[in-house]
């Protein structure tokens, strides 16, 4: 199985502060994704990457930016966190190029006060 490490796993911050979540993979997968999970909304795609320095927006990208300077790392940044960004964030890798099957990290719980 692929290895994905998300950090930090838990973070509490204040409105207006910048926050960066990191996703690290160990198996050189090309596609990486950031989703957020909220009650009643399921998982919604924020941004994804299809290679180093190649990224694109998902369904709920406003207020978020991403970067991928190395194959193994995909960073999600909240430039100025808001309470509406309190959520659980999941990183995933595309484990099968043809079917779209994803493998998920353990999640990062972010609370914005």
């Amino acid at each position: 199985d692929a290895g994905i490490t998300q950090s930090p796993r838990h973070k509490v911050t204040e409105t207006g502060t910048p926050v960066t979540l990191r996703c690290h993979q160990t198996e050189n997968h090309r596609y990486m994704y950031w989703y957020r999970q909220d009650p009643g909304h399921g998982l919604r795609l924020i941004h994804y990457s299809y290679g180093v320095k190649d990224t694109d927006k998902g369904e709920v990208s406003d207020g978020y930016s991403v970067s991928r300077s190395k194959t193994e790392d995909f960073l999600l940044t909240l430039e100025s966190a808001t309470s509406s960004q309190t959520s659980v964030y999941f990183c995933a890798i595309r484990q099968n190029l043809y079917t779209g099957e994803l493998f998920f990290g353990e999640g990062s719980r972010l609370t914005v006060l």
Partner: protein
């Protein structure tokens, strides 16, 4: 555009009873279908998937799902549930290997199994 509808947000059942979690999707092309499970305070793990072939697919922990193309459904079933099956279940659809295509998820169904 793709979409996934999970028809029940919560399903309470007693231990050893059968359960069905319903999922409908919309897509104009052939799809791949998935069920993921999320146990409390954990990430999502793949339960089962339909790619092609037999419409009845079996997954981990005794779960199975049936793909019905005419009804655009992919319902998840288990003949006898355990307390340990208490979790949130997500249905997801993919239209395949188009560049950047991500899985589209339903809103989830919380399965609560009590004794």
């Amino acid at each position: 555009a793709q979409s996934v509808t999970q028809l029940d947000s919560q399903v309470p059942v007693f231990e050893e009873a059968p359960v069905e979690l319903r999922c409908n999707y919309s897509s104009s092309v052939s799809v791949y279908l998935f069920w993921y499970v999320q146990y409390p305070n954990q990430g999502l793990q793949l339960l089962l998937k339909y790619l092609s072939g037999s419409t009845l697919v079996k997954g981990i922990n005794g779960f199975e799902a049936e793909f019905n193309k005419s009804q655009t459904s992919f319902h998840l079933r288990k003949p006898s549930v355990h307390i340990s099956d208490t979790a949130e279940y997500f249905c997801a659809v993919s239209e395949g290997n188009q560049a950047g295509t991500a899985l589209i998820f339903g809103k989830g169904t919380t399965l609560s199994v009590s004794s």
